[in-house]
């Protein structure tokens, strides 16, 4: 499947549906170790992305991703808003004016997204944040970079799932969950989970 502005928009719509379906789960994860809003925040943001896409789909893949970025920044709030917003913004920056995104370009964009999140939030691997889903996802994507878009995203999503899973045993050091210290052990980080959900939705959409 070609990765154009149109298919990217469709993937974002698919992601919005997945987030809406997991809204309660993300709230519950955040309730356990944070402030019970991550599902609501993500749902508000992706619902707004769908509305924006309903009005008009920008011409280039970069513009679509940038629209998602600015919408997330202006609608989500909380920690997740600026972090995901920056991720999409940096990814968009990589895409340039390409009319279609190929495997290697996608991998570059994913790497840029990760770097953006780390630049903004200063979290490293093992801090029990969305970074723990993103780092293995980007590595897996890089390894699969020769295969097609769908395969790359599938590999990333698989790795993100494992990464999210790994946060269950970690003591958080960033974000609200860090206040809990040892007590946060046994809970999956909501942002890591939403990262894994988004990558899975993109992978499915690319099939």
């Amino acid at each position: 499947m070609a990765c154009t502005a149109e298919t990217l928009a469709a993937a974002l719509r698919a992601a919005a549906a997945v987030i809406a379906g997991h809204r309660a789960e993300l709230i519950e994860l955040d309730r356990a170790i944070g402030d019970a809003d991550h599902g609501e925040n993500m749902d508000r943001g992706f619902t707004a992305i769908v509305s924006a896409l309903d009005t008009a789909i920008p011409e280039t893949p970069a513009a679509v991703v940038k629209l998602a970025a600015t919408t997330l920044i202006s609608k989500v709030g909380g920690a997740a808003g600026p972090l995901y917003g920056t991720a999409f913004l940096r990814a968009s920056g990589k895409l340039g004016d390409a009319a279609e995104v190929d495997g290697p370009l996608l991998v570059e964009a994913l790497r840029a997204a990760l770097e953006g999140v780390q630049a903004r939030g200063k979290a490293v691997g093992g801090d029990a944040t969305m970074v723990d889903a993103l780092i293995p996802a980007v590595s897996a994507a890089e390894e699969a970079s020769g295969s097609g878009i769908a395969a790359i995203l599938s590999a990333a999503a698989d790795a993100a799932d494992k990464g999210a899973e790994s946060t269950v045993d970690l003591v958080p050091r960033k974000g609200r969950a860090s206040y809990l210290g040892e007590r946060a052990k046994g809970h999956m980080d909501p942002g890591a989970r939403s990262t894994a959900l988004l990558l899975r939705a993109f992978a499915e959409a690319a099939k």
Partner: protein, 333 residues
């Protein structure tokens, strides 16, 4: 969940409508993005002191907008920090040549969103500074946490910075004063029950009937330990000890004592706790020169309280005493 609301998604917007209707003489509410600004904004020749954060902590911040305190408040969704464009809109609606000071409570979300807003505003040529308040002694300020949270001290900071701006201090001076306040204010909170966020629909955490959470933030986030219920004497003694030894506050220090209800704790209990705190501070030779008692920075309907101590000097006392006219704090006007 039982709440007086129509729809979790519209709670903040509808509430702001009521705030605007109730206090039209003092403030107005602008929509999309939602911000609360002084009725007489923009403020020519005066620094605009602006704060904001997730909603659900009322009267913070909207209830502190008005003469002698905040120029604007930026309310996010319940317990969710507002977005950069809302903060930027508040700056544009209130700040003139004298610039703006953003008061940011130290939570990852608030810091990231306000930082971005400050960059956006600066890019448009506005003189915007920000200070981050982190007065909660319950959190160890180490690389293992997001750092100390901004809690009760925020109310005192907003009053004092607002008073400095009102008397015409320049941005440099208001900022320096804000940093001074942040340097000498410390707080600790406890929760007896959990708040219920409207969109979540159930209590944010589970606390047994015989447990309290010692060292909570304003969303009920945990801090030091979950412990058994204790008498008010024991509880307040532990709280006073935690706050006093942190700065530390010493014998002979003049302080403002702020005894705050987290929302659900009734005044009869709050004054009881306040009386104990006054006694314990007197025993330590710490001189309470000013006090504030009531629900000023809350966590929805959560039962619990916080104690905040601010070390006073003549300038801070004068700024605290200066006239203020906001929905939640008013004197001298």
């Amino acid at each position: 969940m039982k709440k007086i609301i129509n729809d979790p998604k519209t709670v903040v917007a509808e509430s702001l409508r009521g705030l605007a209707a109730a206090h039209a003489d003092v403030l107005r509410v602008e929509d999309d993005p939602a911000i609360v600004v002084r009725a007489d904004a923009p403020l020519a020749g005066k620094v605009a002191v602006i704060s904001g954060g997730g909603s659900g902590h009322e009267p913070l911040h909207g209830g502190f907008v008005g003469q002698g305190m905040l120029a604007a408040a930026v309310p996010g969704a319940v317990f969710t920090s507002p977005t950069p464009d809302a903060v930027e809109a508040a700056v544009k609606a209130t700040a003139g040549d004298a610039g703006a000071l953003l008061i940011v409570k130290n939570y990852t979300g608030d810091v990231l969103n306000f930082e971005t807003a400050a960059e956006l505003a600066a890019a448009e040529g506005l003189d915007v500074r920000s200070v981050v308040i982190d007065d909660d002694v319950a959190v160890k300020d180490s690389t293992y946490t997001a750092g100390r949270r901004g809690v009760g001290g925020t109310v005192l900071l907003e009053k004092i910075a607002g008073a400095a701006a009102e008397r015409g201090d320049a941005l440099d001076a208001v900022e320096a004063l804000a940093r001074k306040v942040i340097g000498q204010v410390r707080s600790i909170g406890v929760a007896l029950t959990a708040p219920t966020v409207p969109h979540a629909g159930e209590p944010s955490f589970d606390l047994a009937d015989d447990e309290i959470e010692f060292g909570i933030g304003i969303h009920g986030e945990p801090g030091i330990e979950r412990t058994a219920v204790m008498t008010a004497d024991e509880l307040v003694a532990r709280m006073v000890e935690a706050v006093v030894t942190d700065l530390p506050f010493a014998e002979g220090d003049k302080v403002l004592l702020f005894t705050n209800s987290m929302g659900g704790t009734p005044l009869v209990e709050l004054y009881l706790a306040h009386g104990i705190a006054e006694r314990l501070l007197a025993e330590r030779g710490i001189v309470v020169e000013r006090r504030l008692v009531g629900p000023y920075i809350t966590s929805l309907e959560m039962q619990g309280m916080s104690l905040t101590l601010l070390k006073l000097d003549d300038e801070l006392t004068e700024l605290w005493d200066a006239p203020v006219n906001t929905p939640a704090l008013r004197w001298g006007v």
